[in-house]
């Protein structure tokens, strides 16, 4: 019989973990996924399932926007009734590749986090969880990988799990930063104004999240700021916006190191109330 415990008092640990590889086009696969050893708890109180990837040297997997080529990992999670999983949260990606084939992703190892919502009221003491994870890994060539990951979540009255050690999980723009959409006719721009004391803006980059109807100009390298305002031009094609009014979404990378901060922004819908240039 399952013990019943109050959700508010739970700390959650993943008791048993096993991995069943479903396949890869290369054996042994150059990138491997495992379910984390425990459910981690973020600083904001949210809890996450962790999917950890380990890549062979020079192989990489991709961010949610892979860039010019590649493909983002996919995760399908099975959870008991009452539990819910959200969209994968990706850590800050690296930028790699050539000017003609720019990629955003991860080398070495990376931990992707899937937020989990517990059922209201009481929850069972332990639950089974499984996740089918598929990914594309590339070096000079690319291979597909897939694994079914299984584990037992133990929901026990224990001390809270330490905040995740996953570095550089993007957050909102800090106080003092500003981002807005401006336009002159059909010419649109995303304008970012970092705070005066912001660090890392010399190497600031914006990685757009793909949004139907929005197309950012082809890539250029980092450009030093003039007076603290940054402009990233983009075009709007409302006829391509099949999911409703187009929005601008993406990641600001401040600084050039993995441990530097990254900020997630979402603006729009475009065409509503942008400032004129």
């Amino acid at each position: 019989m399952l013990a019943r415990v109050r959700r508010s008092r739970l700390a959650i640990a993943l008791g048993v973990c096993c991995v069943a590889a479903l396949g890869s086009t290369v054996d042994p696969p150059p990138a491997r996924a495992t379910l984390g050893q425990r459910i981690v708890q973020g600083r904001d109180g949210r809890i996450f399932i962790s999917i950890a990837f380990q890549m062979d040297p020079h192989w990489h997997i991709y961010w949610r926007n892979p860039g010019d080529s590649g493909g983002a990992p996919r995760v399908q999670v099975d959870l008991p009734a009452g539990f819910a999983a959200g969209e994968i949260l990706f850590p800050r990606p690296r930028v790699f590749g050539s000017a003609e084939d720019r990629g955003f992703g991860y080398e070495g190892k990376v931990e992707l986090l899937v937020p989990v919502t517990l059922p209201t009221g009481e929850a069972p003491a332990s639950v089974e969880v499984s996740a089918v994870v598929s990914w594309m890994a590339c070096k000079e060539s690319c291979v597909m990988g897939e694994a079914k990951l299984n584990g037992t979540l133990t929901l026990a009255e224990q001390s809270r799990v330490a905040p995740t050690a996953t570095p550089s999980l993007p957050g909102p723009m800090p106080e003092g930063w500003k981002a807005e959409i401006v336009h002159a006719g059909a010419e649109y721009s995303l304008v970012i104004v970092p705070s005066r004391d912001a660090k890392g803006v010399d190497a600031m980059l914006f990685l757009p999240d793909p949004m139907p109807g929005i197309e950012f100009a082809d890539g250029t390298g980092p450009i030093k700021p003039a007076n603290g305002k940054w402009r990233i031009p983009f075009s709007v094609r409302k006829e391509d916006a099949t999911d409703g009014p187009p929005k601008v979404r993406g990641l600001i990378l401040a600084g050039g190191n993995d441990a530097d901060p990254a900020y997630w922004i979402e603006l729009g819908p475009v065409g509503a109330a942008e400032a004129k240039k």
């Binding site: 000017a99 003609e100 000079e140 690319c142 793909p210 082809d218 940054w230 006829e239």
Partner: protein, 244 residues
Amino acid sequence: MRLTRTALAISLAATAIFAAAMPMDDDKPQGVAKKEDAKPRRAEAAKVGDAAPEFTLTGADGKTYNLSDYKGHTVVLEWFSPSCPVSGHGDRSFWGSGNAAKTVAAVKAADPDAVYLTINSNHDGLGGQSTKQQGDASAEVIAKGGLAAGLSVPVLMDPEGKVGRAYGAKTTPHMFVINTTGTLVYVGAPASDDGKTDYITSAVTAIKAGKPVEPANTKNSGCGIKYAGGSGPRRGGGPGAKPN
């Protein structure tokens, strides 16, 4: 125990853009002050609404293919690689899964006069394979791709990459649809991430009905095309890179 299935399909649809911030001065755009990685190829590539770039290519079958031969027909171009696990390699690829054959059949059902061509723009010698060998491998994959009886899809070889660059083809697969007047009307992925929307057949159907193609641009994903003298291999790459 009843399980609640939560699908977390994170979109493969992603803009293929690396946008760098450009400074503003007193709210007046300064234009591109400096480009660390200027990419003229992209600037020159055809866009939706442009005239489709003309080409003459030799097929793996030895025949010559001119785009102009298909004037008055809707033309579907699919960039292809026999060694890419998204395009032609393995049973989960576009061709290995049978999805390409289904697309071809749907296109021909929507418009029997439509033409479907594949193009391989990987450079000669990739993975130690000559253009001829790559062409043979491409034709073999497509022959085994489950095409319905009576249908065939030629493979056009573009080892210099001129045609691929003219169209701005980045990945395999990467799809382009040209209407009956020779205008590029669709660029992007074969289908939506969830597989529910076949963008190519939708485009061909719209052309046939005289309607605009919407969406006309979608995000494609797949293996990067290895252009001759162009897009260098990614980090860790170098001479002797494997085909993709």
